[in-house]
């Protein structure tokens, strides 16, 4: 099986190459190539987005939000001093993707647009209130991370659209974020992935963001669990209560990595751990 291979020099050329053909974007290739080798996808054209300059930047914009180009690799995010310092949850999530060689190749855009329910970055971006900037024939639009994932490997990205950039607003100054991943081996996809951010002041939680991945077809924002934490001391009792609410909020998948029952229990375990870790300001 073969395809036409295109190396666009600009976003406009990339969009033109994606229009009207059974075309797919090639970014890092770590998800796409597996689908191609297994013939789960049979595109007629591959559009290598890496030849368009300027899509891999990691910088703070004038509004103080982090702007991450869709082609930023997991390695770049994991190691960026800026991201580690101020958006630690994102750096940690990126650092948990796959294995070192996969992180050298894979991109945040590819990870998010592939839409694997067990992926790490979608849950982190939900907990970060990130916004995804997409461009296509109809122009540019911005999609909140929580609305981007529609189902099992299904996103809000239109057929001839590309994800250009992800915008991550700053968290409250005292907030601390963690990403915890339960997996069977050192490099497996998540059984459960939890993204947590807490702002603790004078011993009380002032603000919380919790999201879980690999526990449903899409990442789940745990608003009830967040609400139960705000205003109280983030101790073991609070963590257990948040965890119980989290367990009720998810509709876990039954698959090779775990039964639905087991996943639900592990959501509770990992949410409790994540809440305490974020409260203790641990990495």
């Amino acid at each position: 099986m073969t395809w036409e291979y295109v190396e666009p020099a600009t976003v406009e050329e990339a969009l033109a190459a994606l229009a009207g053909e059974e075309a797919r974007v090639l970014a890092g290739g770590v998800s796409l190539m597996v689908l191609l080798r297994n013939r789960l996808l049979t595109p007629r054209r591959l559009v290598n987005l890496k030849t368009v300059p300027g899509l891999d930047g990691i910088a703070v914009g004038p509004d103080g939000a982090l702007r991450v180009g869709a082609l930023a690799t997991h390695r770049a995010l994991e190691r960026s001093p800026l991201v580690r310092e101020r958006w630690a949850l994102l750096a940690q999530a990126a650092g948990h993707v796959g294995s070192p060689p996969i992180r050298n190749m894979g991109t945040i855009g590819g990870n998010v647009c592939h839409g694997d329910p067990a992926a790490d970055l979608p849950a982190a971006l939900c907990a970060l209130d990130a916004r995804l900037r997409v461009v296509g024939p109809g122009g540019e639009r911005e999609i909140p991370a929580a609305e981007f994932h529609r189902g099992y490997y299904e996103t809000a990205l239109g057929p001839a659209e590309i994800l250009r950039e992800i915008v991550v607003p700053p968290a409250p100054p005292g907030a601390r974020g963690v990403y915890l991943k339960l997996r069977r081996t050192a490099t497996d996809l998540a059984v459960v992935g939890v993204a947590a951010q807490l702002e603790v002041a004078h011993g009380r939680c002032r603000w919380a963001r919790l999201a879980v991945g690999a526990a449903a077809a899409v990442p789940v924002r745990l608003r009830d669990a967040e609400a139960c934490l705000v205003g109280r001391t983030p101790d073991e009792a609070a963590a257990r209560e948040a965890a119980a609410l989290a367990g009720r909020a998810v509709d876990p998948l039954d698959d090779a990595r775990g039964s639905a029952w087991y996943r639900r229990r592990m959501v509770e375990v990992m949410v409790a751990r994540a809440v305490l870790a974020a409260a203790r300001r641990e990495p």
């Binding site: 073969t2 291979y5 290739g29 190539m33 591959l46 070192p100 060689p101 050298n104 190749m105």
Partner: protein
């Protein structure tokens, strides 16, 4: 339809004509006769296809050859220089880190990339670096010892 691509392999300029779907792994093994890089799972999980691309470990089975035009690729064949084994190769042999040898090329390359960046790795550093390379034989213990021994020997 084939496309001619130039790339640097182990310091030597190479040119091959490849169709769009040929992977770097296929080019290395079949077009260039460099069979040190192995075909294991073909889906990027096992690590036996790992090569260095501009010094960084990547999965050759998931890399399209056309995508690495003009880049520098290092395979296991590029480790020994001037007839002398690389310190990592010597350490692997000496420490018993090679049994069937199938994972060894990938292990050597990720270890080289690690030592190029972290000359004195801790045990944890080594374990993290080889996390993406499966070994069915050794249990990893002697691989970790060998990498740290090579780091010692190199200083």
């Amino acid at each position: 339809m084939k496309r001619a691509i130039q790339l640097d392999v182990n310091g030597e300029p190479c040119e091959v004509a490849v169709p769009a779907e040929r992977t770097l792994l296929e080019v290395l093994r079949r077009d260039l006769g460099l069979s040190g890089t192995k075909e294991g799972c073909d889906v990027g999980e096992c690590g036996t296809c790992t090569v260095l691309l501009d010094g960084l470990p990547v999965r050759a089975c998931l890399t399209l050859a056309v995508d690495v035009r003009g880049r520098a690729v290092t395979t296991v064949e590029g480790l020994a220089a001037g007839g002398r084994l690389h310190p990592l190769q010597e350490a692997f042999a000496r420490e018993g880190a090679v049994q069937c040898g199938f994972c060894t090329p990938g292990m050597l390359l990720v270890a080289k990339a690690l030592l190029d960046e972290v000359p004195r790795p801790t045990e944890e550093d080594v374990r993290q670096a080889v996390a993406g390379n499966l070994c069915r034989c050794t249990g990893y213990a002697k691989i970790v010892v060998a990498v740290r021994a090579a780091a010692e020997a190199g200083r």
